[in-house]
């Protein structure tokens, strides 16, 4: 079959084209409607959802770090403040080669070679557009040195930031503590969002224990960012509704420290390893708190180089060790007033009865000699005289009569063997031995038994007994106040920096000793006054000429046990094995305003080394300054 020849029919084709065009128009309308439906779905139905996404896109929250509270003494001296400091900061995205740039900073002596690795890690851990502090405080000379070469360091610049400054340097450093860069360990104990934008945190001492009060509340500001996360200015309408919450400055801390007493303590201990704690027995305020050698806390706020930190850590004198708070020492004869009180209260001895001291004591049925510090003996001794002359033989006997259980009990009542409750962390509890304690502390059955000999030496503050200088000072406050005292404290008030409003912290009473017999107390205090009095008081020399009456007690604690047949020859004993020198005191004896303890490691003798230190502090605090 031959298909018919097709003829072009213009009219039919035109009609056909019109039909097709109309069909196309219908299809177009259908597709446009589909598009409009999609747009309505996006812009009307899900508008809220997309509006939130868009808001989240364009807004970044920038933290506004609060000002750290100041630390002041009651008299208004500034112990810690915030000063603008030059900080060297690096913005990673603008630095072509971070490692190379750091090495060039080493050439300029602005960065230590040892720190390169740490800094490189630090830079990598931050977002590329955020500037990273690589040096916290630059000296003027370093600023000048960098300024000359600044053009060679794109992306590295000097910025002014507030950093912590301790205007008195190392004065009171072991009380104040210091701030340093926030470490990974710190991050575990804080709410990270509260520290956004903050570089420094309290590490020890008051700075750490009152971190919460002194830090303040971080504010924030919403900033407009572009797709790279970089803050941008933008049109006013884009910036509308950006929220801001201003930061709230931390509270100022008002410390109990008395700068004159503190300086006197540190001055008196200069060149020695030791500690001084002085407390106002009427409220527990710590007036002086020294541990030497100290260090400059400004180093930490500035950021120590690895080498500097190692040097501090490795120093044989351990300047970072807080001897006053964490050093535990045998208290030696400083506890004799407590033992005397225990004996009087329990009627174990007659205070008027005299005993003869021949230079040593022996337990019945034993030939072991417990030696007196004075080999030739003190002769006839009553309680008062034995305190004044620190007769060991007398107290060996008292200890034997009292027994360990009563001694433990009284020593505990005076706060030994337990934290004093001071308002900074890290306090060591020391040790008051007891039968129970010995049972638990030793594993060999033969060693778990409490021996009579263990009891005897507790009477002169040796043996297992350990106390911190803080505990001894607290004990001195209990003696000063006849059995009542307060928990030691540094912070007496918080001050709101915006209103100046003071929030006083009430003193917290310590558990009372529970001895109410005034006559008993008077005998003990009289004994302690005898210590500082002629003719035979051990500390009479140090107290000579004082216009106020001092009640004190010297102590000399063995570090090293001398064999039975040997003589203690201090010349032959290495310096660090010499006896520790101790002294506790309060003054004026009848209306005490200050109680203190002094410890000098390897200071040989309480009367010779520790008591003179105490006198300087008492003078500084009790005597009117000469103007």
């Amino acid at each position: 079959m031959i298909s018919p020849v097709r003829i072009k029919d213009h009219w039919a084709e035109q009609r056909m084209f019109m039909r097709r065009a109309i069909a196309a128009g219908i299809v177009i309308l259908a597709l446009v409607i589909a598009l409009v439906v999609k747009l309505v779905q996006l812009q009307v139905v899900r508008h809220q959802y997309y509006a939130e996404l868009s808001q989240g896109n364009r807004v970044r929250i920038e933290p506004l770090p609060p000002n750290r509270g100041l630390i002041l003494t009651r008299a208004g001296e500034v112990l810690a403040e915030n000063l603008p400091a030059y900080q060297l900061e690096l913005t990673p995205e603008q630095v072509p080669n971070v490692n190379e740039a750091l090495w060039r900073l080493v050439d300029l002596r602005l960065v230590e070679p040892d720190d390169i690795e740490r800094l490189t890690r630090l830079v990598r851990s931050r977002r590329i557009f955020e500037s990273v502090p690589i040096r916290l405080q630059l000296s003027d000379e370093e600023v000048a040195r960098f300024a000359v070469h600044r053009h060679e360091f794109p992306g590295i610049d000097i910025r002014t930031r507030l950093t912590r400054h301790y205007p008195l340097g190392d004065v009171g450093v072991h009380a104040l503590g210091y701030v340093g860069a926030i470490s990974e360990q710190d991050l575990k104990r804080i709410d990270e969002s509260e520290y956004a934008g903050t570089t420094l945190i309290g590490k020890v001492g008051v700075e750490s224990s009152f971190e919460k009060q002194v830090h303040g509340t971080t504010g924030f500001r919403q900033v407009l960012v572009n797709a790279q996360g970089r803050p941008v200015e933008g049109e006013a309408a884009l910036r509308a509704n950006l929220a801001t919450r201003p930061p709230v400055s931390g509270n100022d801390l008002i410390l109990s420290l008395d700068v004159r007493a503190q300086r006197a303590a540190e001055e008196a201990l200069r060149g020695l390893r030791g500690a001084v704690v002085a407390i106002d027995p009427n409220n527990g305020d710590v007036l002086a708190f020294a541990s030497t050698p100290g260090f400059d806390p400004n180093l930490f706020a500035r950021g120590l180089t690895t080498a500097e930190y190692k040097a501090l850590q490795d120093d044989i004198d351990r300047p970072m060790f807080n001897r006053a708070l964490r050093g535990t020492y045998p208290p030696g004869s400083t506890i004799k007033p407590v033992i005397a009180l225990a004996a009087l209260e329990s009627h174990s001895i007659d205070p008027g009865q005299t005993r003869f001291c021949r230079g040593f004591f022996t337990l019945p049925g034993s030939r072991h000699r417990y030696r007196d510090w004075r080999p030739e003996g003190h002769g006839w001794m009553n309680l008062q005289e034995s305190l004044a002359q620190s007769c060991d033989t007398y107290f060996y006997n008292v200890a034997q009569v009292l027994g360990i259980d009563r001694m433990s009990s009284y020593l505990s009542k005076f706060g030994l063997g337990q934290p004093t409750g001071i308002d900074v962390e890290g306090e060591k509890p020391g040790l008051v031995p007891s039968r129970d304690w010995k049972q638990k502390a030793f594993s060999q059955p033969g060693e778990q038994v409490w021996f009579p000999g263990d009891t005897v030496i507790i009477g002169i503050g040796q043996g297992y007994l350990l106390a911190t200088p803080l505990q001894l000072a607290h004990m001195a406050t209990l003696l000063a106040n006849r059995g009542h005292s307060f928990e030691p404290r540094f912070v007496t008030a918080l001050r709101d920096p915006s209103t100046g409003e003071m929030h006083k912290i009430e003193p917290e009473p310590s558990p009372s000793v529970g001895v109410d017999d005034a006559a008993v107390w008077q005998r003990v205090v009289n004994g302690m006054v005898g210590v500082t009095s002629p003719p035979r008081g051990t500390a009479r020399g140090s107290a000579a000429g004082a216009p106020y009456q001092i009640a004190g007690k010297t102590g000399t604690a063995q570090v090293f046990t001398v064999g039975q047949t040997e003589k203690y020859d201090e010349k032959q004993i290495a310096e660090r094995l010499r006896d520790h020198a101790l002294f506790i005191a309060f003054a004026p004896a009848e209306a005490p305003r200050i109680a203190l303890s002094v410890l000098v490691e390897n200071g040989r003798s309480g009367s010779g080394t520790a008591a003179p230190v105490a006198r300087k502090i008492l003078d500084a605090y009790l005597l009117e300054p000469t103007s």
Partner: protein, 377 residues
């Protein structure tokens, strides 16, 4: 009815401007709508480009050039357009082959021909040459076309489309293929053939999948599930949907679109400018813009219907429908209705050659329409 229409047209041409338009073979309504889109487009571009005046100036210059091209082509008699069609087509194919061999690569695609003075994309020429060639083939033949003719037209379409897809420029290849297919459809391709081809689409799609470049495959996959790669390929779609959706009904205001102004929206002054309109002018702005586009397409189809010979009707119809494809593919991709294909929003997106080609197409459309012989009185 025809008399009335002619009569009313005659009345309108009384005004001087209408007479001028008539002399220049221009269509007033179409010109007005296109100019409105272009002017709005410049305003949008100013905002989308981040207030880049240099860029705005270049776009204005291009629009001027495009107007010149349109007016010039409107003067050419349809007779010549028809006679030149095969030669222009042949030249275009030749240039595409040259581009494939020695072309300039830009952004990983080899599309440009450097003529020393200007760089030129032969694929732009093919956007007009392919529908004209197809219409030329059908002009003297009875419609609908027979199978032999369909096969011939398939070759005419697929050779340039294949060359362009290889560059690779999927968007343009798609547009050119559709412009050719529109000619065939408007020529009265039988319904059962259309149905058969539609049935074959999944099969063809599967075959075509194998020919797609990796990044093109990824685009399709990302379209199907943009969340799967929110920072990579899905980023464009997610950000443009956020921009459109956050605009709401009334928009955030000119130059206040945070997605666009803060550079969250990629390609904000080129392929994704539709999202800027949606963000800053809201649903109302988009509807206005779409209404203008629909008017242009409607007017184009109406003019095509009024044309008097096969070549004119088919070319005019194809140009109008292809313009719609531009609008729909771009708006659809930006709003997440179709996969991301690099097609600009006509007359609004920043970009040179495509604007000139589009306006040149409308010039041809106006020529075809205005060179009619008056029938009847």
């Amino acid at each position: 009815m025809m008399d009335n229409l002619q009569g009313s047209t005659a009345r309108r041409t009384l005004t001087a401007s209408a007479r001028l338009l008539g002399t220049l073979h221009l269509d007033g309504q179409l010109l007005l709508a296109l100019s409105a889109i272009a002017v709005l487009g410049l305003g949008i571009l100013y905002s989308a480009s981040g207030q880049n005046e240099a860029l705005l100036w270049r776009q204005t210059m291009r629009f001027g050039l495009a107007m010149v091209a349109m007016i010039a082509l409107a003067q050419v008699s349809p007779k010549y357009l028809r006679l030149w069609a095969p030669w222009v087509y042949a030249l275009g194919v030749l240039l595409l082959i040259i581009v494939a061999l020695v072309g300039e690569a830009s952004k990983g695609a080899q599309r440009w021909l450097d003529l020393g003075v200007i760089r030129f994309q032969p694929s732009e020429l093919m956007k007009l040459a392919v529908p004209m060639m197809c219409a030329w083939l059908l002009h003297d033949r009875p419609l609908p076309p027979d199978l032999k003719l369909l096969a011939l037209m398939s070759i005419v379409i697929l050779v340039p489309v294949g060359l362009i897809a290889e560059q690779p420029d999927l968007g343009t290849a798609l547009l050119i293929a559709t412009s050719g297919i529109f000619v065939v459809l408007l020529a009265g391709l039988r319904a059962r053939v259309i149905a058969a081809v539609l049935a074959l689409v999944p099969v063809l799609g599967w075959v075509a999948w194998g020919f797609l470049h990796d990044y093109q495959q990824k685009r399709v996959l990302t379209f199907l599930d943009p969340e799967s790669d929110p920072l990579g390929a899905g980023y464009h779609i997610i950000q443009s949907q956020i921009a459109i959706g956050s605009g709401g009904i009334f928009g955030k205001g000119w130059m206040n679109g945070s997605q666009a102004q803060l550079e969250f929206l990629p390609e904000r002054s080129t392929d994704f400018i539709f999202a800027v309109v949606g963000e800053e002018f809201g649903l109302l702005g988009l509807l206005l813009l779409l209404a203008l586009y629909v008017f242009v397409i409607g007017r184009g189809l109406f003019m095509a219907i009024e044309c008097q010979d096969t070549f004119a009707r088919l070319v005019a119809g194809s140009i109008s429908l292809t313009f719609f494809v531009y609008v729909f593919v771009n708006a659809g991709m930006v709003s997440g209705l179709v996969p991301v294909v690099g097609v600009p929003l006509p007359l609004v997106s920043f970009g040179g050659t495509s604007m000139v080609t589009l306006m040149a197409g409308f010039g041809i459309l106006m020529s075809l329409h205005s060179h009619r012989k008056l029938i009847g009185s």
